[in-house]
Symmetry: C2
Subunit: 193 residues, 2 copies
DNA sequence: TTAATTTTGGAACGTTCATTTCAAATAAAA
DNA sequence: TTTTATTTGAAATGAACGTTCCAAAATTAA
């Protein structure tokens, strides 16, 4: 019977994700990924088919990891507005924990290669869809519990928050002072109350 | 005496900028730039030193072109708030004039290569500085003429609008419906009145 | 222990990369 | 027309790219 895969797939994905996150897709070479994972070239190709496919799996890995952490944060919210607030606190935490922020892997990927590769564009589109649905749910909930105003529809606010988050993550690449990040977050959220 | 440069530098820069804008820095090859400009390889190196330096000149070219068009738009504003509003109208026009938006060259560049190359990071930092100063001026003016509220300082609002614009440009890569873009813009601006 | 199946290591694949080289063509001032 | 400086064309540079190949090592069920 077969020799079984010896490495921990999640650890490898985590290491590859770090490499892609540091340099972006195009600037990350296969040699960088070999170095980052400690795996042999052929093992990478055996297990992940190609650089492009490995990147796609890293995107999914990154999304899942973020989703899990966000879910934990959201449990602490006592109303819709607080949920959105916790979301921004999560991003601020992510952005300030390293001295030089690399931005969001998914936002960076959209900037670098949306509409170039179909598989990547498909991922980005469905990621956007999932994000918008989550936000709309939270905002709708907030409008029900009166923590968020009803000046605009939940879907309109969801799109606004989604766009704001992307800008927030890009801004954080060169603006690192926590006070400034908190100020931006506060202003974004002001609209909802 | 010397043979003089025969090509129009601005046309060449415009063509190279389009190439870089379409594919991003790393995915654009020197061959792509030769094809886009119609110039010979050695002429490009003679006149622009290196791919990196050509890209830097393209960034400046792109910034200047945008600044000129924005200035024209701003002249039509009768108060501070309208100026910011015209700014967003300019971006919506930019985003919807092509069927598939490539985003903002400068925002994309920040995502792809901030904190990788010093010369690029320096450009991005001073571009951010210039943008923030412009926005702060417009908002301060709006607060003087009572078209913008004083709930927060002009510099805090400038940072918020700056971050919002970046998000707006990233969002426009996959969200193309003008109605949605107008809705986002409207919500962003709502904060100021 | 043997047989079956997979992962490994490391070299090699052909391509493409940014950049350089240099002789030939060019054009304006002398 | 000659001189001088520059651009141009086309080929060549060596390094790096993503990917493939295959024999050797590894592992587990039989």
């Amino acid at each position: 019977m077969p020799k079984v895969e010896t490495f921990d797939r999640d650890i490898i994905l985590s290491q590859a994700t770090t490499a892609f996150h540091d340099l972006g897709y195009n600037a990350t070479s296969m040699q960088d990924l070999v170095d980052a994972t400690g795996l042999n070239r052929s093992s990478i190709y055996n297990s992940f088919t190609s650089k492009k496919n490995l990147f796609l799996e890293c995107l999914k890995f990154y999304e899942n990891k973020n989703n899990r952490e966000i879910s934990k944060k959201l449990l602490k919210a006592s109303n819709g507005f607080e949920a959105i607030q916790h979301l921004f606190e999560f991003y601020i935490y992510e952005m300030t924990k390293a001295s030089d922020d690399k931005g969001c892997l998914i936002v960076n990927c959209k900037s670098e290669m949306a509409n170039h590769e179909n598989t990547i564009t498909n991922f980005l589109t469905s990621n956007q869809q999932r994000m918008l649905e989550l936000l709309e749910d939270l905002i709708f909930q907030g409008q029900q519990d009166h923590s968020i105003n009803k000046l605009q529809s939940a879907s309109a606010y969801a799109l606004y928050i989604y766009s704001s988050i992307q800008g927030f993550r890009v801004t954080g690449i060169l603006v690192t002072e926590p006070s400034k990040l908190k100020s931006i977050s506060k202003t974004i959220l002001q609209t909802l109350i």
